[in-house]
């Protein structure tokens, strides 16, 4: 984001002295939360997956950042 700042002493034409600032918004990391709603079902006696990957149940504001890719690790 660019911001122009002008300085004037009241006599000189406004904008006689202009300085441009480039302001960058720095991401502040947000806490992820896990809300695995509903039950996960596992077929007894059968090896295989249980439900959907838990990543789809994670809420994190950082996921909306356009220039920041969030990644998660899960532990049980």
């Amino acid at each position: 984001m660019a911001i122009n700042m002008s300085a004037s002493d009241g006599t000189a034409p406004a904008g006689a002295s202009v300085m441009e600032f480039l302001v960058s918004v720095r991401n502040v990391n947000e806490v992820p939360s896990l809300n695995a709603s509903g039950n996960f079902f596992a077929a007894a006696s059968r090896e295989g997956t249980i439900g959907q990957p838990l990543a789809v149940f994670v809420s994190d504001e950082d996921l909306f950042s356009t220039d920041f890719t969030e990644r998660f690790n899960f532990t049980i």
Binding site: L34, N39, A43, S45, G48, T49, P53, D62, R71, F72
Partner: protein
């Protein structure tokens, strides 16, 4: 759990008996697992969530320890004699295993002298064994039936042994191929080879009083006499069915116990 995606898996180190077995006990929570999962982001922040995993019942067919079995039975074994016992397992809790047997192959269209029974009929719970006991069928045992005769035409029987679980709607089965071999048993020789009389212990013969030594003894039944030299004498022949004993039958004469010596 897969760290990057959070995918949960059912795993087992023992394929034959998975760690997860559905319980039919009816206890609340017996088939539920509550997990606390922690999710961590790249910046090291984390949050916890609760996940409840519910087990759903999956019927699995019983399993034999082998695909083929070979057992042996002595020839002329009696009715109900045990031929062998074969185990099957069923990992589903609360189910029982029943067995059936059917001749196959060369035995399919011949008399089949065996039956199968469950050992106890008891509940075969997860990981427990069910036992099939193969027995000689009623009326098929003994020498008289002639179905279990090593010297006969059939020395081996083939059958399909089936184990079936007791699932209420979709019972599952597993089969194994069973070979039953009739085993040789040494059998005593018997007299009267032409007309087998295993229980004949007495032959009626006649001899004239005062007969001199060397006089032929005559049989009461002329059909059981044979020509000896210029005369006729009793023919007492014995047969031994055992192949290994062929041609080795020997004869001797002795007085019955307590009788006067033979002269």
């Amino acid at each position: 759990m897969e760290q990057g995606t959070g995918q949960l898996f059912v795993t087992s180190t023992n394929a034959a008996k998975p760690a997860f077995a559905f319980s039919s006990s009816g206890n609340a929570g017996a088939n539920e697992f509550d997990l606390v999962v922690r999710v961590s982001d790249r910046g090291g922040l984390s949050g916890d969530g609760n996940v409840r995993v519910q087990l759903t019942e999956t019927n699995v067919a019983p399993a034999f320890t082998q695909a083929t079995f070979t057992v042996g039975i002595d020839e002329n074994a009696a009715d109900a004699a045990v031929v062998g016992s074969i185990d099957a397992t069923d990992i589903n809790d609360g189910q029982t295993v029943s067995f059936s047997i059917a001749p196959t192959g060369a035995s399919a269209n011949a008399p089949f002298p065996f039956i199968v029974q469950s050992a106890t009929g008891a509940d075969v719970s997860a990981g427990a064994d069910g036992t099939a006991v193969i027995r000689v069928a009623s009326g098929s045992g003994g020498a008289g039936a002639g179905l279990l005769n090593f010297e006969g035409s059939t020395q081996s029987f083939e059958a399909v042994l089936t184990a079936t679980d007791s699932h209420s709607t979709t019972p599952l089965s597993t089969t194994a191929l069973l070979t039953i071999q009739v085993q040789e048993v040494a059998e005593a020789p018997y007299f009267d080879g032409d007309r087998r009389r295993p229980n004949s212990v007495r032959f009626d013969v006649t001899v004239e009083e005062g007969a001199s030594a060397g006089t032929a003894v005559r049989m009461a039944d002329a059909a059981e006499e044979t020509t000896v030299g210029q005369g006729v004498a009793a023919r007492l022949t014995a047969t031994d069915d055992d192949v290994v004993d062929a041609g080795t039958v020997r004869y001797s004469v002795r007085a019955p116990t307590g009788a006067a010596p033979t002269s």
